[in-house]
Symmetry: C2
Subunit: 344 residues, 2 copies
DNA sequence: CGTTTTTGCGAAAACGTTTTCGTTTTGTAA
DNA sequence: TTACAAAACGAAAACGTTTTCGCAAAAACG
């Protein structure tokens, strides 16, 4: 009942373990006849190399780790899917961990992955991550690392991102050109770069189009939930009931806001236009359907793995590792929550 | 730059590797003084045991594998989250693979996991899985296995499920008691047990309440997508324009149907009541909100891991493994897509 | 002080593979 | 035949840990 080992095959065939190993890996110094013999018996005995031994000997596990803030999340699960798909093609398995947006957990997860000696690590940082010692631990341990989506510019490694500022600029400009005169912004927490960049895109779009930037129209949310969308929609109506457009940091919040506006009998997009961010599937099926920025999660996952794979290979060949930052294009998806043409 | 090993510590302290190893694991035959010394130097040198060597020696990897049909899916990602959370508590890492509902892929994934020698495997079967040789391979390889949600009754292992038949019965009964007279059913493919059980629950509810079961009211879908929801809603209206209730196999399809009914100006729930299945988050935010059956994904993940963990432990202690099937309770969530009281 | 028990430590095997390097065998040419 | 090159194979070390078992020194006992 014990699993077959090289030794078993060797004893059966009356050759050495060395020869069996070499035969299976097509070394040139094994005769065709023995190769055939070895391969045949390996086949019939259903020999599977002991991964533990191979790992130890080659000091690689053909496994990578990924840390994301949240698994139950359309964007992140799409990225995850992209990573898995690409990793599988190259014979890599993927260990998944989630940080729950917690800095402390993120640290622990990284420790875990490093102690498991994964061949590489992919991370989308938690919102609460402001120090990067634990990230640098990865780099110092000589483990290839790629950051995606929520990155830290200051960390020296490959990254794959979207241009949040540009996308937000496009979204806000869309509101402006479709006739909105007073545009609010629901933004994320102060820390992560994404929130900052999206906010800046919003602000620049206003200024570039000769509109005044009014800080009181910018609302800072915390957990970016559906409930917060509802709550801040209410608040906005109380503070500024003449707002006719909102650019919202993420679709989930936008959907909360839409829900509240619907309840209050406010006409979207005629009273208020709304643009979200991310293009969750949900956004295409609510009513009205949500204009948003498509964020290519699946592709981001694929690209992130490709970068990581390149680094893993470079490390193995002891060629110098080159860092690269890939910026993926986003797209404005115009739906029913915003007006398509200039209204007067 | 090489990672610290036991040998390094041993040489520094002038003791043997054996003693170092024992000291770190608190063996009783090491003096308190040496233990302290060893632990201190291990600490300062930031010693991390080489996982590959430990794996080989102990022949366990503290890693489990999970195969689900689809990662970007509210229910499955919830299960995944539950598994990860529970696994982490016990010091296990999780390798994630997805079958894309393909039998062939499922086979390959299992092969992969077995050759990586994971300590246990969790699977929710693909819809297209009808033979179970590959599943039995797992059992024969003596790897603990737990099936969840989409299971095969014929496979001898632990399982965690919901009572699909009962839940469907409850859902359909709700439609009946709220006054629906002609109730259709959008069901899933013929194969998976879930589809069958939900269909049977629907049928039994009808019969038990003195209604006639009309096979032409049962529609068999394939990929259970939003688009199919739209498409079959159209079809239903053509075939039976006097239907006043539908029990739909899954929320996503229900949302597609709702979208189509909304477009056609059909009043939900007054013209047609709809009950879905799964309680995706989305269902609580569309309009009208969807009455559905809550399927406890997160909890299912937790329970599934707990069962697996028990088996892993039993295997290690060479006590006989006991199989168990846990049935998780579901709940009818009444929202706006169905009438709450009997209408006349 | 001699004997037994306890305490502390280490040598060595084992896990299964990969790879280097040396050795044997075969084949070829003189 | 000898000499030499090429082809085929194997011994052994290495990866780093865990654990069994034996042995010495120290402590306890009479």
């Amino acid at each position: 009942m014990k699993p077959i080992t090289l030794k078993d095959i060797a004893e059966i065939l009356g050759v050495s373990v060395t020869t069996v190993s070499k035969a299976l890996k097509d070394y040139p110094d094994v005769s065709k006849k023995t190769k055939r013999l070895v391969k045949e018996t390996a086949q019939t005995l259903n020999y599977k190399p002991n991964a533990f031994a191979v790992n130890l000997r080659t000091s690689e596990s053909k496994t990578i780790g990924i840390i994301i803030p949240e698994v139950v999340h359309h964007f992140f699960s799409s990225v995850l899917k992209g990573i898995i798909a690409q990793a599988e093609k190259k014979g890599y398995l993927v260990i998944i961990l989630q940080s729950n947006e917690s800095f402390e957990l993120e640290k622990k997860q990284i420790d875990l992955l490093l102690s498991k000696r994964v061949d590489g690590i992919l991370i989308s940082l938690a919102n609460s991550t402001i120090h990067f010692d634990h990230i640098n631990d990865i780099i110092n341990s000589d483990t290839p690392l790629v950051l995606f989506d929520k990155i830290a510019k200051v960390v020296q490694c490959s990254k794959v991102i979207i241009n949040d500022r540009k996308a937000a600029y496009t979204a806000t400009t869309h509101l402006i050109t479709s006739g909105c005169k007073k545009i609010a912004h629901f933004r994320g927490p102060l820390l992560p770069q994404n929130s900052i960049d999206r906010f800046l895109g919003y602000k620049n779009a206003l200024l570039d189009h000769g509109m005044t930037y009014d800080p009181s129209l910018v609302y800072i949310l915390n957990d970016m939930s559906f409930e917060e969308g509802v709550q801040f929609a209410k608040k906005l109506l109380k503070d500024h009931n003449d707002v006719d457009g909102i650019f919202i940091n993420t679709d989930l919040v936008a959907i909360g806001a839409i829900s509240e506006f619907n309840n209050q009998g406010i006409d979207i997009p005629n009273d208020i236009s709304i643009v979200g961010f991310s293009n969750w599937f949900m956004s295409s099926v609510i009513s009205p359907t949500l204009t948003t920025i498509d964020q290519p999660g699946y592709k981001m996952g694929k690209v992130a793995f490709k970068l990581l794979y390149k680094e893993i290979k470079q490390k193995k060949q002891k060629t110098p590792v080159t860092f690269k930052t890939v910026e993926l294009p986003t797209e404005l998806i115009i739906r029913d929550s915003s007006k398509t043409t200039k209204a007067s």
